[in-house]
Protein backbone atom coordinates (compact mmCIF):
# COMPACT_ATOMS: atom_id res chain seq x y z
CA UNK A 1 0.00 0.00 0.00
CA UNK A 2 1.08 3.57 -0.64
CA UNK A 3 2.43 5.59 2.24
CA UNK A 4 0.15 8.34 3.50
CA UNK A 5 1.32 11.32 5.55
CA UNK A 6 -1.27 12.70 7.95
CA UNK A 7 -0.81 16.17 9.45
CA UNK A 8 -2.66 17.64 12.44
CA UNK A 9 -2.87 21.34 13.22
CA UNK A 10 -3.91 23.62 16.08
CA UNK A 11 -6.43 22.09 18.53
CA UNK A 12 -6.50 18.82 16.57
CA UNK A 13 -2.73 18.44 17.02
CA UNK A 14 -3.31 18.88 20.77
CA UNK A 15 -6.08 16.28 21.06
CA UNK A 16 -4.09 13.85 18.87
CA UNK A 17 -0.93 14.46 20.86
CA UNK A 18 1.13 14.69 17.66
CA UNK A 19 1.43 16.90 14.60
CA UNK A 20 2.12 14.27 11.95
CA UNK A 21 2.45 10.59 11.19
CA UNK A 22 3.15 8.47 8.15
CA UNK A 23 1.45 5.14 7.69
CA UNK A 24 0.43 2.56 5.13
CA UNK A 25 -2.95 3.61 3.86
CA UNK A 26 -5.49 1.48 5.74
CA UNK A 27 -7.48 -1.06 3.73
CA UNK A 28 -11.00 -0.10 2.78
CA UNK A 29 -10.65 3.55 3.82
CA UNK A 30 -11.96 5.43 0.80
CA UNK A 31 -12.83 8.95 2.00
CA UNK A 32 -11.43 11.64 4.28
CA UNK A 33 -14.24 11.00 6.77
CA UNK A 34 -13.58 7.26 6.72
CA UNK A 35 -9.94 8.00 7.51
CA UNK A 36 -11.06 10.17 10.45
CA UNK A 37 -13.20 7.26 11.69
CA UNK A 38 -10.26 4.87 11.31
CA UNK A 39 -7.95 7.20 13.27
CA UNK A 40 -10.45 7.37 16.13
CA UNK A 41 -11.05 3.60 16.08
CA UNK A 42 -7.31 3.25 16.54
CA UNK A 43 -7.04 5.42 19.63
CA UNK A 44 -6.82 8.90 18.10
CA UNK A 45 -8.92 11.86 19.25
CA UNK A 46 -9.76 14.36 16.54
CA UNK A 47 -12.15 16.33 18.77
CA UNK A 48 -15.71 17.39 17.93
CA UNK A 49 -16.51 16.11 14.47
CA UNK A 50 -18.68 19.16 13.71
CA UNK A 51 -15.54 21.28 14.11
CA UNK A 52 -13.27 19.04 12.08
CA UNK A 53 -12.02 20.25 8.72
CA UNK A 54 -9.57 18.62 6.36
CA UNK A 55 -7.41 18.85 3.29
CA UNK A 56 -6.22 16.33 0.71
CA UNK A 57 -2.86 17.08 -0.92
CA UNK A 58 -3.04 20.66 0.40
CA UNK A 59 -6.53 21.46 -0.86
CA UNK A 60 -9.53 21.94 1.42
CA UNK A 61 -11.75 18.87 1.21
CA UNK A 62 -15.06 17.83 2.74
CA UNK A 63 -15.27 14.62 4.77
CA UNK A 64 -17.03 12.80 1.93
CA UNK A 65 -14.17 13.52 -0.52
CA UNK A 66 -12.53 10.38 -1.94
CA UNK A 67 -8.88 10.00 -0.94
CA UNK A 68 -7.97 8.94 -4.48
CA UNK A 69 -4.19 8.86 -4.82
CA UNK A 70 -3.66 11.20 -1.87
CA UNK A 71 -0.13 11.36 -0.45
CA UNK A 72 -0.77 13.99 2.23
CA UNK A 73 -3.91 14.48 4.28
CA UNK A 74 -4.49 17.02 7.04
CA UNK A 75 -7.04 17.45 9.83
CA UNK A 76 -7.60 20.76 11.59
CA UNK A 77 -10.25 23.03 13.15
CA UNK A 78 -12.04 25.75 11.16
CA UNK A 79 -9.43 28.33 10.13
CA UNK A 80 -9.08 31.66 11.95
CA UNK A 81 -6.49 33.69 10.06
CA UNK A 82 -6.63 37.24 8.75
Amino acid sequence: MALLTILYFARVAETMGRSSETLDRPHGVMTLGALADWIEENGGNLGYRAKLRGAIDQQMAGMDTPLGDAREVAFFPPVTGG
Binding site: L7, A10, R11, A55, Q58, F76, T80, G82
Partner: protein, 143 residues
Protein backbone atom coordinates in the same frame (compact mmCIF):
# COMPACT_ATOMS: atom_id res chain seq x y z
CA UNK B 1 3.13 39.28 -4.56
CA UNK B 2 2.46 36.80 -1.76
CA UNK B 3 4.50 36.49 1.43
CA UNK B 4 4.04 34.40 4.58
CA UNK B 5 6.60 35.55 7.12
CA UNK B 6 7.51 36.00 10.78
CA UNK B 7 8.88 39.51 10.28
CA UNK B 8 6.85 42.69 10.43
CA UNK B 9 6.14 44.59 7.23
CA UNK B 10 5.92 48.28 6.31
CA UNK B 11 2.46 49.15 4.94
CA UNK B 12 3.77 52.46 3.62
CA UNK B 13 6.46 50.75 1.59
CA UNK B 14 3.94 48.20 0.31
CA UNK B 15 1.54 50.97 -0.76
CA UNK B 16 4.35 52.85 -2.49
CA UNK B 17 5.30 49.70 -4.39
CA UNK B 18 1.70 49.32 -5.56
CA UNK B 19 1.56 53.00 -6.59
CA UNK B 20 4.69 52.50 -8.67
CA UNK B 21 2.83 50.01 -10.88
CA UNK B 22 1.24 53.04 -12.53
CA UNK B 23 -2.33 52.19 -11.53
CA UNK B 24 -4.81 54.98 -10.96
CA UNK B 25 -6.12 53.50 -7.71
CA UNK B 26 -4.63 51.64 -4.76
CA UNK B 27 -6.67 50.14 -1.90
CA UNK B 28 -5.45 48.27 1.16
CA UNK B 29 -6.43 46.52 4.38
CA UNK B 30 -4.17 46.04 7.40
CA UNK B 31 -5.24 43.69 10.21
CA UNK B 32 -3.81 44.17 13.73
CA UNK B 33 -3.83 42.20 16.99
CA UNK B 34 -6.79 43.55 19.02
CA UNK B 35 -6.36 43.75 22.79
CA UNK B 36 -9.87 42.25 23.36
CA UNK B 37 -10.65 40.83 26.82
CA UNK B 38 -7.07 41.27 28.02
CA UNK B 39 -5.44 39.50 25.06
CA UNK B 40 -1.75 40.35 25.28
CA UNK B 41 -0.56 38.47 22.20
CA UNK B 42 -1.53 35.97 19.53
CA UNK B 43 0.37 33.06 18.07
CA UNK B 44 -0.41 32.37 14.42
CA UNK B 45 -0.05 28.73 13.41
CA UNK B 46 -0.32 27.69 9.76
CA UNK B 47 0.04 24.81 7.31
CA UNK B 48 3.27 25.49 5.41
CA UNK B 49 2.90 24.79 1.72
CA UNK B 50 -0.89 24.73 1.71
CA UNK B 51 -0.99 28.30 3.02
CA UNK B 52 0.97 29.64 0.06
CA UNK B 53 -1.11 27.57 -2.37
CA UNK B 54 -4.38 28.82 -0.89
CA UNK B 55 -3.23 32.44 -1.12
CA UNK B 56 -2.10 31.93 -4.73
CA UNK B 57 -5.55 30.52 -5.60
CA UNK B 58 -7.21 33.58 -4.01
CA UNK B 59 -4.87 35.95 -5.86
CA UNK B 60 -5.64 34.23 -9.18
CA UNK B 61 -9.36 34.43 -8.52
CA UNK B 62 -9.10 38.15 -7.73
CA UNK B 63 -7.06 38.74 -10.91
CA UNK B 64 -9.70 36.90 -12.93
CA UNK B 65 -12.61 38.86 -11.43
CA UNK B 66 -11.18 42.38 -11.44
CA UNK B 67 -8.73 44.18 -13.78
CA UNK B 68 -5.88 44.47 -11.26
CA UNK B 69 -2.45 45.71 -12.25
CA UNK B 70 -0.94 44.33 -9.03
CA UNK B 71 -1.85 42.85 -5.67
CA UNK B 72 0.02 42.19 -2.45
CA UNK B 73 -0.87 39.61 0.21
CA UNK B 74 1.27 39.42 3.34
CA UNK B 75 0.37 37.26 6.37
CA UNK B 76 2.55 36.97 9.44
CA UNK B 77 2.98 33.81 11.50
CA UNK B 78 4.42 33.13 14.96
CA UNK B 79 3.91 35.19 18.12
CA UNK B 80 2.47 38.69 17.61
CA UNK B 81 2.00 41.16 20.46
CA UNK B 82 -1.10 43.28 20.97
CA UNK B 83 -1.19 46.04 18.35
CA UNK B 84 1.13 44.18 15.98
CA UNK B 85 0.32 43.91 12.30
CA UNK B 86 -0.99 40.49 11.21
CA UNK B 87 -2.07 40.80 7.61
CA UNK B 88 -1.83 43.20 4.68
CA UNK B 89 -3.91 43.15 1.51
CA UNK B 90 -3.16 45.70 -1.19
CA UNK B 91 -4.66 46.03 -4.66
CA UNK B 92 -3.93 48.32 -7.59
CA UNK B 93 -6.21 48.99 -10.53
CA UNK B 94 -7.13 51.74 -12.96
CA UNK B 95 -10.23 52.72 -10.94
CA UNK B 96 -11.36 52.64 -7.33
CA UNK B 97 -14.23 50.15 -7.57
CA UNK B 98 -12.03 47.28 -8.74
CA UNK B 99 -9.30 48.08 -6.20
CA UNK B 100 -11.75 48.37 -3.27
CA UNK B 101 -13.85 45.33 -4.18
CA UNK B 102 -10.86 43.09 -4.83
CA UNK B 103 -9.33 44.14 -1.51
CA UNK B 104 -12.54 43.26 0.37
CA UNK B 105 -12.83 39.96 -1.52
CA UNK B 106 -9.26 38.99 -0.67
CA UNK B 107 -9.51 39.60 3.09
CA UNK B 108 -13.00 38.07 3.36
CA UNK B 109 -11.98 34.89 1.55
CA UNK B 110 -8.56 34.70 3.19
CA UNK B 111 -10.37 34.35 6.52
CA UNK B 112 -12.17 31.17 5.44
CA UNK B 113 -9.88 29.65 2.78
CA UNK B 114 -6.32 29.97 4.09
CA UNK B 115 -5.08 27.53 6.76
CA UNK B 116 -4.09 29.83 9.62
CA UNK B 117 -5.08 29.36 13.28
CA UNK B 118 -4.89 32.00 16.02
CA UNK B 119 -4.09 31.19 19.63
CA UNK B 120 -4.79 33.98 22.13
CA UNK B 121 -2.51 34.64 25.07
CA UNK B 122 -4.13 36.16 28.15
CA UNK B 123 -2.53 36.87 31.52
CA UNK B 124 -3.85 33.60 33.03
CA UNK B 125 -4.50 31.31 30.07
CA UNK B 126 -3.97 30.51 26.41
CA UNK B 127 -6.87 29.57 24.16
CA UNK B 128 -7.56 28.81 20.49
CA UNK B 129 -9.69 31.41 18.73
CA UNK B 130 -13.04 29.98 17.56
CA UNK B 131 -14.07 30.50 13.94
CA UNK B 132 -16.96 32.97 13.54
CA UNK B 133 -20.08 32.36 11.47
CA UNK B 134 -19.95 36.02 10.42
CA UNK B 135 -16.66 35.28 8.63
CA UNK B 136 -18.30 32.42 6.71
CA UNK B 137 -21.15 34.76 5.73
CA UNK B 138 -18.71 37.47 4.60
CA UNK B 139 -16.80 34.99 2.43
CA UNK B 140 -20.00 33.43 1.07
CA UNK B 141 -21.22 36.67 -0.45
CA UNK B 142 -18.31 36.55 -2.95
CA UNK B 143 -19.18 33.06 -4.22
Amino acid sequence: MIRVQHEDFDPGAELTALEETGAGAVASFTGLVRPDDGVTALTLDHYPGMTERALEVLASEAQARWPLSALTLIHRVGRLESGARIVFVGTASAHRAAALEACAFLIDRLKTDAPFWKREHLPDEDRWVEAKGTDDAAAEKWR
